[in-house]
Symmetry: C2
Amino acid sequence: MKLTILKDHLNEAISHVAKAISSRTTIPILTGIKIDATSGGVTLTASDTDISIQSHIEIEKEGTTIIELRQTGSVVLPAKFFMEMIRKLPSQQIEIEVKDHFQTTIRSGSSEIQLMGLDPEEFPLLPLLEESRTIRIPSDILRTMIKQTSFAVSTNETTAILTGVLWTIDNGKLKFVSCDRHRLASREVNIDLDPSQRFSNIVISGRTLNELNKVLPDHNTLIDIVIADNQVLFKIQSILFYTRILDGTYPDTSKLIQETFQTELSVNTKQLTEAIDRAYLLSREDKTNIVKLIMREDQSIEVSSTSTELGKVTEQINLNSIRGDLLRISFNSKYMLEALKVMDSENIHIGFTGAMQPIIIKPEDGADILQLILPYRTTN
Amino acid sequence: MKLTILKDHLNEAISHVAKAISSRTTIPILTGIKIDATSGGVTLTASDTDISIQSHIEIEKEGTTIIELRQTGSVVLPAKFFMEMIRKLPSQQIEIEVKDHFQTTIRSGSSEIQLMGLDPEEFPLLPLLEESRTIRIPSDILRTMIKQTSFAVSTNETTAILTGVLWTIDNGKLKFVSCDRHRLASREVNIDLDPSQRFSNIVISGRTLNELNKVLPDHNTLIDIVIADNQVLFKIQSILFYTRILDGTYPDTSKLIQETFQTELSVNTKQLTEAIDRAYLLSREDKTNIVKLIMREDQSIEVSSTSTELGKVTEQINLNSIRGDLLRISFNSKYMLEALKVMDSENIHIGFTGAMQPIIIKPEDGADILQLILPYRTTN
């Protein structure tokens, strides 16, 4: 392999695949980035076995020559050092030459770096996916759906299936659900798809989806998603992002979600979020996160938290409306805060079915997002 | 104590004193901020015994009423919680009321916070300094002098005196020196002072000076520095910053610094810094930080580092000039990099007296800053 490549383009491709490099891997080849140079361009690949990312650099783009290819070939170079060094090279022109035993020389301006490369044959192959099951959605919607659900996945690895976000497609709708036994987040969106097409039990790690979000471009673009038996592939412009589907069957969470409520209220999202944030500050010091909500006759609620060491925070919030029995209910303020922060409507609707039943939060102007929080049992 | 105060002004004062709050203290009163309300305004004080910072808020400023004082008094409130809560309060108007047993109520908009305050009598008193020995320097110069020397203090607490920066005043010049046995940094500046005035052996913790730098304002202003027997006080607008002088006698470092050299060279600062940065990247992976410099006949130098696992980095740098014997010398690239990064002249002069003698770096256009690095003994 021998080629010259423009630094900015190489840097960009490296930054994409870098998300798949694990610093904790014990497999030496996976600490590297694989570089393949062919007549079609240069492709970088990194993998931590859960996620694999490939980024492609074209020979030419918009009339600019990006790569001058002298000889095709492949090599695996140590990722961390390669990444940092390329960023610091003195010239836009970077020459990479691989000789016998994958001995690699990188030249740029007055710098020369000799690196011991590894055999690309040892690098794991990317899965070959049958592209018959493909959906297409705008990157902005995908990003929002991930943000609105991934925070609520379980961090407990003993029930691995709950560390993922459940994807289902039915009736031309794509739905994400996450649940950690104490709370549930779900978001639904209409997609342009043959309504007869159905997918169920596709569960993707919440951590992986957060990494995917970092690779999604800043501007809105269409993303093709290929769903195979045990892998999902996201095609994001010049990037291919592979991840495996989690094993197991996702529990049926639909029974948790009531449709009729004993009490319903409407409140300004920002006002409630900021009040709970202040109550959370104190409850966090006490390591309980418990916040109490009391409904009042005068169409207001009181949110409060108490710390035996520090004191008490009390917040008054006027409601837009309230209907039904006036309840007292306690909940984990961190969970409530995380749920409220991803609600993008000005006002929200909260439904209660008693002090021991799930709290259901929806935007007032639609039903495509739903957040559920189980209350705490407290003595008062 | 009872008063109303504007949130932004209170926040600013809290952010100043926050630098003196230690999260590791075992003395409960020091986890607090002392608030004193008098007819002259509100004063906040925090202390970690090494550093004490006081910030004053005036009753009125530029025609705006900042504080409405109803009743004078004092209280100590838990710093971390108070700081975070004030930032998040819903209204600019914050009411603080202290009742019996330092029970404190903070009201703002629809929020009410009750806090258990502590007795301000338990808070350590600030030292009373005799203001006879005072120097005045612009904050921009102080900031630069700290930046150019504090990085080279020792981090080894067993020789506590070397963890500080030595201040001396002689011949109307203020000089900072730091030294950790492997390197030395010094910076000198003319100050407007009676030339007969002399100070010696004032040593201030490097860590403290870095904290002081964070409190210095963004715009240039004159700082009064009061130097007492075992304390120094920096007066920065409405802020008083107290720190103790380190005990002990600072070693005489003047003999380390040669005046005549076997070899002298002049080189572009940025080019050398970037080349050493790349060589450092590899040397760091090998955990040695060793970089080798070889002088060549053709008025150039080669800087290189080698890692048994990764490979080799070689950099060619053209010199402006070179005079004397051509040497090969090895040094700690991290130390060299830190020294080069604080040189603010376009070209630097480096002096050598042999492969085992100190390397002396000065700006080409002046002598008020000097960096010294001891070379490594290597076999080749």
